[in-house]
């Protein structure tokens, strides 16, 4: 399984802070596995993606396998 972690308001859209999905997952596979509103939200270029704590320069290049953790990161809040 792959753990998906939703941060900030993405957790509201997901209805939960995490979700387990079957491995493996690429970007298209991840979006297909998520509810439409969430799949659309994570396409926003300001949303970043990290795999096992490492930020992806290009989230479309996502490749995750069993045991990985994918974090979906909306823009951080201001001061």
């Amino acid at each position: 399984m792959i753990t998906i972690v939703f941060l900030g308001k993405l957790a509201d859209l997901a209805g939960a802070p995490t979700l387990q999905l079957a491995a493996p997952l690429d970007w298209a596979g991840l979006k297909a596995a998520l509810p439409a509103a969430l799949a659309e939200a994570i396409e926003d270029p300001r949303n970043r993606v990290a795999v096992n704590g490492a930020l992806l320069a290009d989230k479309a290049a996502l490749q995750a396998s069993a045991g990985d953790e994918i974090a979906l990161l909306p823009p951080v809040s201001g001061g």
Binding site: V5, L73, V76, G78
Partner: protein, 153 residues
């Protein structure tokens, strides 16, 4: 002396600053900023969410940049996560240096980055007219981008 922490519980800044100052003998000055949850009308609580693998690492990278950029003897950077009530401290940054400009600028630099370029997501619990309350996510502000731009070089 370098002390970078994420805290899940209420803290008292004074209990951190005394030992931090003592740990940097020979310093010329210490600048400290403490941020608290403002008692804004109708705000009942503030929640800060973090993503451990990025948030703490990002704070360490920020400290590295502060040490590269300023001539510092020590840096303390402590940030709360979780749910906080108005009046509780959220963040404490303290910089010790031989010269005041380094200490003050390092605190200013770290605060601008912690406030708008660190991996924290914030929401406020606000009272509604009917006696209930509701959580609202806090968005980035234009002022944040201006604050950060001051440090670009």
């Amino acid at each position: 002396m370098r002390d970078i922490r994420l805290l899940h519980q209420m803290f008292l800044p004074g209990t951190l600053i005394g030992p931090f100052t003592q740990a940097n003998p020979g310093l010329g000055g210490v600048c400290t900023f403490v941020g608290e949850v403002r008692t804004d009308q109708g705000v009942e609580a503030l929640e800060l969410t973090h993503y451990e693998p990025l948030t703490l690492k990002g704070m360490h990278e920020l400290a590295d940049r502060a040490f590269d950029r300023f001539t510092l003897m020590g840096l303390l950077m402590v940030h709360r996560v979780g749910v906080m009530r108005p009046g509780e401290p959220i963040v404490c940054v303290s910089a010790a240096a031989l010269h005041r400009r380094d200490a003050i600028d390092a605190v200013d630099f770290c605060m601008d980055h912690l406030k708008s370029a660190a991996w924290f997501w914030k929401r406020e619990k606000r009272a509604k007219g009917n006696g209930d309350s509701e959580w609202h996510w806090i968005e980035p502000r234009a002022q944040d981008a201006q604050d950060l731009a001051r440090w670009q070089r």
